[in-house]
């Protein structure tokens, strides 16, 4: 019979100093999820410039996208977006395994692995995101 832990409510964020690896994974998954859905709404809003573009003014779309891409802060935010998505994907796979009861005893190690792989992919993508136009 497996052990049962009573860690108290994770929703009580004031207890953050007592949180374990799995609880941080849970919080980061929710946080990255909120960021990603928020971004999706913003992304569709920006891409909506394709509607006037299709009506005869293609520069509305092209200038908006290229104008945004010329802003360094936007490029840095794109790197953050990649990191957010990569962590959400990797931790999502980890969550599926937790849900299915696979490798539960290693769930803390898989969280650290997700963080390390996210960091590696993010660092490797920096030249691609910062190249061409701004740096």
């Amino acid at each position: 019979m497996s052990q049962s832990y009573d860690r108290g409510l994770i929703e009580d964020f004031g207890r953050w100093r007592e949180f374990s690896a799995g609880m941080w994974a849970w919080i980061l998954h929710k946080f990255t999820g909120w960021v990603l859905i928020g971004y999706l709404f913003m992304h569709i809003a920006v891409l909506s410039t394709a509607i006037p573009a299709a009506d005869g003014d293609p520069s509305t779309y092209t200038d908006t996208i290229q104008g945004l891409e010329n802003v360094v802060v936007i490029r840095v935010l794109e790197i953050g977006l990649l990191a957010t998505a990569v962590f959400h994907i990797l931790n999502g796979v980890r969550l599926l395994m937790v849900d299915l009861g696979l490798g539960l005893e290693s769930q803390d190690k898989s969280f650290y692995a997700a963080l390390v792989v996210t960091a590696a992919i993010t660092v490797a993508s920096v030249p691609t995101f910062l190249g061409g136009g701004v740096v």
């Binding site: 497996s2 049962s4 832990y5 929703e11 799995g22 849970w26 929710k30 999820g33 909120w34 990603l36 859905i37 999706l40 709404f41 569709i44 891409l47 909506s48 394709a50 509607i51 573009a53 299709a54 293609p58 520069s59 779309y61 092209t62 996208i65 290229q66 891409e69 010329n70 794109e78 990649l82 998505a85 994907i89 999502g92 796979v93 969550l95 599926l96 937790v98 849900d99 009861g101 539960l104 993508s125 691609t128 995101f129 190249g131 061409g132 136009g133 701004v134």
Partner: protein, 123 residues
Amino acid sequence: MAERYSSFEPHGTNWLLQRVTAALLVVLLSFHFFQLHFLNHAYEVTFAGTRARMEDPAYFATMVLFLVTAAFHGINGIFNALVNQGISGRRKRVAKYGLLLAGLVLVGQGIRVAMAMAGVTFA
């Protein structure tokens, strides 16, 4: 039996659909990122280039599938996070229908944008 730490009802439809859409999104999001940041570069995007990609029916269908899948996964994820946070009764109903409406607006506008990009009109 091990304790469950999932935010979802055990083996409910929402749980299953969240996993199915997650699996699809891994593929679709990776494709989208490679297509528009590594293969083509975002700073070189033009309306003509976007139209050329979106005129391909397979690419168009893939992007619409991406939109619907991402919207469902995000809206369903937020709803479950809020339920997990302890909302119930009227607040739960408001969240459910509010998010459903937001999701429908997102998908509706997204499809409108996709059609404009592809040059598809009803006229």
